[in-house]
C-alpha cells in the first residue's frame, strides 16, 4: 500500500487533481481510497457527484461508527471518505483532523488498498493539519502548485514546515501549467530539491468538469486534459522519490520571478 498526502495553497486545485488521479488509477484497477481532510468536505464530490456525510459528523451521532457509515464508493471504484470539521470561524479544524484521521486508521484497514490519497487543506497552519505526515499516515507529501508567485510562496512555506517536522516529500504537482510560467516552477523545483512529477494545463474542460461535479477522466476520457491527468497519475503512482525538502528565503523566491535566479 502507498499513502500520499496532497498539500498546497488553498484553491490551487488539490481536490481536482486528487479526485482525477484517484479516478485514473481506479480505472486501471488500482484499489484507491481518497480521504478528504478539508472541513468543507468537498474533496470527493467529483467522484461521488454529491457530498457525503463527513466522518466527524457521523462520530457526533455514533462515537465509533463502522466503516460503512462514512465510506462510499465513487467513480471507477474509488473509495471515498471525508473527515469534515467545523463551520468557518468556530471550533478547531486541526483538532478535528487529528481525531478523524486517528479513528479512520483504526476503523479502516488501509492495507486493503493499493493507494491512499489524503487531500489536506491549504497550508500547514497548525499541528492538526500536519498530522497526516507528522504521524506517518502518509509516507510522503506531494505539493501542488501553479506557476503564480503566491502559489510557489505557499509551496515554499510548506517545504519549510516539512523540513521542521522532518516529513518527506515526493515532489511537485504542477497545476494550471503554462508555457510562460514553467521556468518559475522548474527553478523552484531545483532550489528545493523536489522533482516535478507531472503537469496539468490550465483548462476550461477541467473547470467545466468540476462544475458538473465529475472528474475529467469521467467527463471526457479522450481529451488532452484527461491524458495529462492520467500521465500525472501514473507518474505519482510509480515514483518512489521521497526526501525531506529544502526551502529558500523569500528573497530567493522573489528572485526567481525577476529573472535573477
Amino acid at each position: 500500500m502507498r499513502a500520499l498526502a496532497l498539500y498546497g495553497k488553498g484553491g490551487i486545485g488539490k481536490s481536482t487533481l486528487a479526485s482525477n488521479i484517484a479516478a485514473a488509477l481506479g480505472g486501471r484497477g488500482v484499489k484507491t481510497l481518497l480521504v478528504g481532510c478539508d472541513p468543507k468536505a468537498d474533496s470527493t464530490i467529483n467522484l461521488l457527484g454529491r457530498r457525503i456525510q463527513p466522518l466527524l459528523e457521523v462520530m457526533r451521532e455514533e462515537k465509533r461508527p463502522p466503516p460503512e457509515r462514512f465510506t462510499m464508493v465513487g467513480f471507477n471504484g474509488v473509495s471515498c471518505v471525508e473527515i469534515g470539521g467545523p463551520e468557518p470561524g468556530v471550533g478547531c479544524a486541526g483538532r478535528g483532523l487529528i481525531i478523524g484521521i486517528r479513528y479512520l486508521i483504526e476503523a479502516l484497514d488501509l492495507e486493503e488498498f493499493d493507494l491512499v490519497i489524503f487531500d489536506v487543506p491549504a497550508d500547514i497552519v497548525c499541528g492538526g493539519l500536519a498530522v497526516v505526515v507528522k504521524e506517518g499516515y502518509a509516507e510522503s507529501a506531494l505539493v501542488v502548485t501553479s506557476d503564480e508567485f503566491m502559489s510557489l510562496y505557499a509551496a515554499n512555506n510548506l517545504c519549510r514546515g516539512f523540513t521542521s517536522i522532518g516529513a518527506k516529500v515526493g515532489g511537485l504537482l504542477y497545476n494550471r501549467a503554462s508555457e510562460r510560467g514553467r521556468a518559475y516552477v522548474e527553478a523552484f523545483s531545483e532550489k528545493v530539491g523536489l522533482p516535478i512529477l507531472g503537469s496539468v494545463p490550465l483548462s476550461d474542460e477541467i473547470k467545466n468538469a468540476d462544475r458538473a461535479r465529475r472528474t475529467m477522466i469521467e467527463t471526457d476520457p479522450s481529451s488532452a486534459a484527461s491524458a495529462a491527468m492520467i500521465s500525472l497519475a501514473d507518474s505519482v503512482y510509480k515514483s518512489r522519490f521521497s526526501v525531506i525538502p529544502k526551502w529558500i528565503p523569500a528573497e530567493d523566491l522573489e528572485a526567481i520571478f525577476v529573472g535573477d535566479a
Binding site: 462520530m59 470539521g85 468556530v90 471550533g91 478547531c92 483538532r95 481525531i99
Partner: protein
C-alpha cells in the same frame, strides 16, 4: 531560555477566586468538567456555585458557544443569580470561543462578568486582573479600586519572581521543620523575657488560619512572660466588602482574646505592600524573634533578625528555607482549612504545638 518547570498557580483559579471576592452567585467555567476541579470544589464550600459547560472533544472541534449559551440560560433558571462569573479554560479560549457572544445570546450579558483567560495567559495574577477590569467596565467596582488591586497584583507577581516560587527553574519540595521544635524555640524566647514580633501578612481568607499563630503566641506570652509585638495586614477599610469583612471578623476575634494589634500594616489583599511596611517596623525595633505567617517572603527580614516563617505548600517551604528563614513551618492547605461559609479563626499546626508546649 529559562523555564519554570514546577507546577504554578493557574490564572483560571485566580479568576475564580476573584469572582468569589466580587460575590458572584455562580461561576460558569467554559471548559471540560474536570478543569480546575479542586479550586471549584473549595469555592463551592465558600458558598459559590460552580458549574462547567462540560466540554468534550466534539465541542473543541465544532465550537461550543451555543452549548455555553444554553448552560448560562439553565444556570439562570436554576439559581436565579444576581451576578454570574464566566471564566474560560485552555480548551475553549485556544479555539477562540467568544464568551460575551454566548452571554449576549443567552440574554445575560448585563449580569455576567466574562473573563477571557486560560492557564497559558501568564502569571496567575493575570486572571484576577482580567476579572477586576471587567468588573470595573460593568460599573461593579470604581476605577480607583481596580487600579489599587491591579497595583497590588503586579507587586505580588514581582515579589514571586524576586523571592517567591517563581524565582527558580525548579524548586524542590520540603516538609519544613517540626512544629513542636519551632514552638519550643518561640516559647524559649518568651520564657527568657525576650520579644517576639508576631507578623500576620496573609492573603485574604487564609488569614483565618494564620491568625491562630498570633493568638497562640499571645496566649503563651500571657502564661510565660516576654513581650509580643503584633503586626497585621487587617485594615478593615481596604478592599472589596467581602475582604473588609474578613479583617473585621479577625480583629473581632483578636479583641475577644485580648490580643492588641500594635500596627496595622495594610489591607488583607495588600500583602506585598504590607510586607514591606512590616519589614520597616521590625528593622526599626528588632525583636529577638520574628514569627511571620502567611506570605513570609514578602517580609524580607531573614538576614536581619532570627525568624520563623509559617506558610503553606511544600514548595513554598523549600523556597523559604533557601531564602534563609531560620525555621519554616508548613501548615495544612490554607484554602482547604479556611474556606467555608462559617468564617472563623481555624487551628493551625504551629498554634497547636505552641499551646501543647505551654501545657507541657
Amino acid at each position: 531560555m529559562s523555564v519554570i518547570m514546577h507546577p504554578r498557580p493557574s490564572p483560571i483559579a485566580a479568576a475564580m477566586y476573584t469572582l468569589r471576592d466580587l460575590d458572584v452567585d455562580v461561576i460558569v467555567l467554559h471548559g471540560p468538567s474536570g478543569c480546575c476541579f479542586r479550586p471549584a470544589r473549595l469555592l463551592e464550600r465558600d458558598g459559590v456555585r460552580v458549574v462547567t459547560s462540560a466540554l468534550l472533544e466534539d465541542d473543541f472541534v465544532f465550537g461550543s458557544e451555543g452549548k455555553l449559551s444554553r448552560v448560562l440560560k439553565r444556570v439562570d433558571e436554576l439559581f436565579k443569580p444576581r451576578l454570574i462569573g464566566l471564566v474560560g479554560s485552555c480548551a475553549s479560549m485556544i479555539i477562540g470561543e467568544d464568551l460575551k457572544k454566548a452571554a449576549r445570546e443567552a440574554g445575560l450579558l448585563d449580569k455576567t462578568i466574562c473573563c477571557d483567560v486560560h492557564s497559558g495567559s501568564g502569571d496567575n495574577t493575570v486572571g484576577a486582573i482580567v476579572v477586576l477590569r471587567e468588573a470595573m467596565s460593568m460599573g461593579l467596582i470604581p476605577r480607583e479600586e481596580f487600579e489599587r488591586q491591579k497595583r497590588m497584583l503586579e507587586m505580588a507577581t514581582q515579589l514571586e519572581q524576586a523571592r517567591g516560587t517563581a524565582r527558580g527553574e525548579y524548586i524542590d519540595t520540603c516538609v519544613g521543620d517540626p512544629p513542636k521544635e519551632v514552638a519550643r524555640a518561640i516559647l524559649g524566647v518568651l520564657a527568657s523575657g525576650g520579644k517576639v514580633a508576631c507578623v500576620l501578612n496573609a492573603k485574604k481568607e487564609t488569614a483565618f488560619l494564620y491568625a491562630d499563630v498570633t493568638l497562640a503566641i499571645c496566649e503563651a506570652s500571657r502564661r510565660l512572660g516576654g513581650k509580643v509585638q503584633v503586626l497585621a495586614n487587617l485594615d478593615p477599610s481596604v478592599g472589596l466588602p467581602r475582604v473588609r469583612l474578613y479583617s473585621r471578623q479577625i480583629l473581632g476575634s483578636f479583641s475577644d482574646a485580648g490580643v492588641a494589634v500594635d500596627a496595622i500594616t495594610g489591607g488583607i489583599d495588600e500583602y506585598p505592600a504590607s510586607g514591606e511596611k512590616a519589614k520597616q517596623i521590625i528593622l526599626n525595633s528588632p525583636p529577638d524573634l520574628a514569627v511571620i505567617s502567611g506570605i513570609p517572603h514578602a517580609v524580607a527580614v531573614e538576614r536581619a533578625v532570627r525568624t520563623v516563617a509559617v506558610s503553606v505548600g511544600s514548595r513554598a517551604v523549600s523556597n523559604l528555607k533557601s531564602l534563609g528563614y531560620d525555621y519554616v513551618v508548613g501548615e495544612r492547605d490554607a484554602h482547604q482549612v479556611s474556606l467555608g461559609r462559617n468564617k472563623q479563626i481555624r487551628r493551625s499546626l504551629l498554634g497547636q504545638a505552641i499551646r501543647e508546649g505551654i501545657r507541657a
